[in-house]
């Protein structure tokens, strides 16, 4: 079917079966490859995007559910995402880097909903994202750091 997807503020008119998972519409049809495939079954978070601000595993919802909603991917930007990027760089977080798109999007959602997340809050949200390289300690630190950067900037 023909449908319109709004990704990072830009409208894309695409043709895709409505049951195609959003992940593959973003990667293979629109051609934005920053959103990653890791498991396809809602287990690893590599495919995380924000759908109208809501943290979503794009591998596990059909593209039809994203119509008329605003999609934020790692290629996009938001205030919190920028604070996180800064903290990620300061902390030299990534190793292979593959999971980090999903980690950053999940962390953005965490900061969007929780002003000053505790370790426990971080565990709750970020445990949906696997990092096989094991950068968890740095991710946790970087999230706290992003909050600090944010507070300084106000």
């Amino acid at each position: 079917m023909n449908l319109n997807l709004s990704v990072n503020g830009k409208l894309h008119a695409i043709e895709a079966p409505e049951e195609m998972p959003l992940l593959w519409a973003i990667r293979d049809v629109i051609g934005l490859t920053g959103t990653k495939f890791g498991c396809g079954v809602n287990q690893c978070g590599a495919c995380s995007v924000l759908l109208n601000g809501q943290l979503t595993k794009s591998c596990s919802i059909p593209v039809s559910q994203a119509i008329e909603k605003e999609i934020l991917t790692i290629e996009g930007t938001s205030k919190n995402l920028e604070f996180l990027r800064q903290a990620w760089s300061d902390g030299n977080v990534p190793q292979c880097g593959y999971c980090q798109s999903g980690q950053l999007i999940a962390a953005t959602s965490l900061l969007d909903t929780t002003e000053n997340p505790t370790d426990k809050d971080i565990d709750t949200v970020m445990s949906a994202n696997i990092c096989r390289c094991g950068t968890y300690t740095r991710i946790k630190k970087a999230i706290h750091q992003a909050v600090a950067i944010k507070n300084e900037s106000i």
């Binding site: 593959w24 293979d28 990653k36 690893c44 030299n92 190793q95 880097g97």
Partner: protein
């Protein structure tokens, strides 16, 4: 010998993808020991390391290594930048393509840093000397009156300075300094080496712009998924492709015959049924809809639980004697005050890097071009040349970013698949594995059984040590029916046991392979590290001694083994990391209720590692609270990267200890995806404290792998400390402990 040359040939510069103009220096390095792959034309100059200085001051380093998460690109760049006195912001790194001209590109075995450090430093130093000479000529002063600092050459007499970029034209006329004349900096003057440097790829990693294998897009590229027989080496019996072809986006479905590798080398591929589609999802859907009947073949009845029992009974009776033992254990056992026995198990494990195996290929009659996340592009290229009968010079392997490798991506079966399919459909194609494919068709880390028997005298000292080990050999993937471990495998912690043992006997038992076996991050050290450290802890307990003191005593007097090799073993350095870790962890301190500490040490990839783990155990559930690891890896090239690697190794080791288990039933792998092959997650992650020993005068040794083998035994020893219960068979999830 590594000689540095100026590269003037324009075609070469173009091949490297560099802008013309500026200086290109290349050098050809002979790598260490076994791993040197000689270039065909031994007389010709085949550089494999390059730096390019441009007029705008930019310095590009062409690294002949796959990235795979070790930050190696950054480490090697730091060596050049340091000697060159460059400003870090002008440095960028490019990945060389897999071409013989660039030398051996295998990243396995933590040896990259080891073999390339000095040549890298010399490259930087040569470039600096050329810039100095150019400046001296311009100012008409002696070279000694000039010095380099932060991308400028300074005139000591006049305090004038010249920007590197402005000297490039003149410097390119200067002869390359001879090897003897190259002076390297003193350790204490390092600016980047041994310091905290950020990855050169951070911007791409945080914006989703790093191109991994799966991110390659070519015009008219097709996507392919492959259904492979659930039982290793099974074949296709019959199939119905109708429902697959009905999927929107699916174009064709066909059979892909297996490619059997020749004995002794290469990996070949399984073959199966291929679905070609317009996008990845349609290919996956088509694959799901295939109706296939397989001939499972010889491995149809393989059951990993039964195999565990078989291996156990084999290690419980005499095996094949492994050379290298000494003394007489039988005699020692006869007069022992105490005899202790234990049997340990590690299951099969899958690598499961976050990025599944995938490759993009374009077969065009007499050339092949590949874009893939490969750890060993060189072997991939030889393999393709062999199977598709295309000369190697007509094959280009573009190494993309790797979303993790851990050894999986040095086996290029997925590249062979992509090329075979592209050849058949006459179009560029990207083969993508599903996570299920990855978990069910890996080159598995072997399962193992070990039996240990030790004797103590009245003073609680070890008098005899018998160890029997059995695990399917990696060699079986190259030579069918290899049923005993090879020497290089046993030399990963078993034969080179670091303790001073008076009576020591090692035996190896038969272990046939019924799945593909491969090497995974730290390889056989996972077994040796687990068995030996667990057993020492048991001995210490029976001897009523503190485990750390027990390790130290058993390491004996300071001594050097393999003194004539490039990397001798110093027992002192192993003791040192152990002592440092004990201090860091506060060994001996009073612990909260239900908490326990466990220790393990291991020597691998020439690095010395000790780890202490603190666990808490509540209602039989284990939580890892803290991990302290100390490494002595010689010259620590990029400390923050080493720290990152060791933190990662702790998490990787935790996945092995807590969850890692692949099992086979009726020949097929029982696990599917991350819900039943679980990984350590954020909620499991402990506080990790890494300590790097300052051994700047020693040559650099491995950092990617040595942090892994210590984790599982230290966790199990900590559990014993907390509960009095021994875990001898991994993983904890099997025992309901997580």
């Amino acid at each position: 010998m590594s000689t540095i040359h100026k590269i003037d040939r324009r075609d070469f510069v173009k091949l490297l993808g560099l802008a013309t103009g500026g200086i290109v220096l290349g050098c050809s390095i002979g790598t260490d020991e076994k791993n040197f792959i000689p270039t065909k034309d031994s007389k010709g100059f085949h550089p494999n390391l390059f730096i390019h200085l441009e007029k705008n001051g930019n310095i590009t380093i062409i690294a002949s290594r796959s990235e795979m998460g070790q930050g190696i690109r950054t480490s090697l760049a730091s060596a050049i930048a340091d000697e060159l006195e460059a400003d870090w912001k002008f440095i960028s790194v490019k990945q060389a393509i897999g071409h013989e001209k660039y030398g051996n590109q295998n990243t396995d075995g933590s040896r990259s840093v080891r073999t390339q450090l000095t040549p890298m430093r010399k490259m930087g130093a040569s470039a600096k000397m050329m810039l100095l000479a150019a400046a001296a000529k311009k100012w008409n002063v002696a070279i000694e009156d000039c010095s380099a600092k932060n991308h400028f050459i300074l005139n000591k007499n006049t305090q004038e300075s010249l920007f590197f970029g402005d000297l490039v034209a003149e410097a390119s006329m200067v002869a390359v300094p001879s090897d003897e004349s190259i002076q390297l900096k003193d350790v204490k003057d390092f600016k980047f080496i041994g310091k905290t440097l950020k990855s050169v790829d951070l911007k791409d990693f945080t914006h989703g712009t790093a191109a991994y294998g799966m991110d390659i897009r070519l015009p008219n590229m097709k996507f392919a998924a492959i259904a492979r027989c659930p039982v290793a080496f099974g074949t296709l019996k019959k199939f119905n492709k109708r429902y697959a072809e009905e999927v929107t986006g699916v174009e064709t479905v066909f059979e892909l015959p297996r490619i059997i590798p020749p004995t002794g080398k290469f990996f070949g591929m399984f073959g199966g049924m291929v679905v070609i589609a317009k996008n990845t999802w349609a290919a996956f859907q088509g694959k799901t809809n295939l109706d296939i009947e397989w001939n499972p073949g010889a491995n149809a009845s393989f059951d990993s639980e039964t195999f565990k029992k078989t291996l156990t009974s084999r290690v419980h009776s005499t095996g094949k004697l492994v050379p290298g033992g000494h003394g007489n254990v039988t005699a020692a056992f006869e007069v022992a005050a105490k005899l202790i026995e234990a049997t340990y198990h590690v299951p099969f494990l899958a690598h499961s890097p976050m990025e599944v195996p995938n490759a993009t290929a374009w077969f065009q009659g007499n050339t092949i071009e590949v874009w893939a996340p490969v750890q060993d592009p060189q072997t991939a290229r030889s393999e393709l040349s062999h199977f598709f009968e295309i000369p190697e010079e007509n094959i280009t392997i573009n190494v993309t970013f790797l979303g993790g490798g851990f050894g999986r991506k040095s086996k290029s079966d997925f590249v062979v698949e992509a090329v075979a399919i592209s050849k058949k459909i006459k179009a560029p194609v990207q083969v993508v594995w599903t996570r299920e494919d990855d978990i069910q068709h890996d080159f598995y880390h072997a399962t193992s059984a070990q039996y240990l028997k030790g004797s103590l005298n009245r003073k609680g000292e070890v008098t005899g040590w018998l160890q029997r080990v059995g695990f399917p050999s990696i060699v079986s993937s190259f030579k069918p029916f290899s049923e005993y471990a090879s020497g290089f495998e046993l030399n990963q912690g078993f034969t080179n046991n670091p303790y001073l043992l008076e009576n020591f006997r090692l035996e190896n038992v038969q272990a046939e392979a019924n799945v593909r076996i491969g090497w995974m991050r730290s390889v056989v050290h996972i077994h040796s590290g687990f068995g030996i450290n667990s057993f020492i802890d048991e001995l210490a307990f029976v001897a009523k001694k503190d485990p750390i003191k027990f390790h130290l005593d058993l390491l004996g007097e300071d001594r050097i083994t393999n003194g004539d090799s490039a990397f001798p073993f110093y027992s002192k350095r192993l003791k040192n990391v152990l002592n440092k870790t004990a201090t860091a962890a506060g060994w001996g301190k009073k612990l909260p209720k239900n908490h326990g500490l466990g220790v393990a040490i291991h020597y691998s990839f020439y690095s010395y590692v000790a780890t202490i783990v603190e666990v808490s155990v509540l209602n039989k559930k284990v939580k890892v609270e803290n991990i302290w690891t100390t490494i002595d890896c010689g010259l620590a090239l990029n400390k923050d990267n080493i720290k990152n690697q060791l933190e990662g190794a702790a998490i990787f080791g935790m996945s092995i200890a807590l969850y890692g288990k692949i099992s086979m039933e009726e020949g097929a792998v029982a696990q599917n995806n991350f819900y039943d092959y679980q990984m350590t997650r954020m909620q499991d992650a402990p506080n990790i404290h890494i300590n790097i020993v300052d051994a700047m005068k020693e040559p650099p040794t491995g950092v990617g792998e040595p942090g892994v083998p210590v984790i599982a035994p230290a966790i199990c020893n900590a559990i014993f400390n907390a509960t009095g219960e021994r875990v001898r068979s991994l993983p904890l999830s099997d025992l309901g402990m997580v």
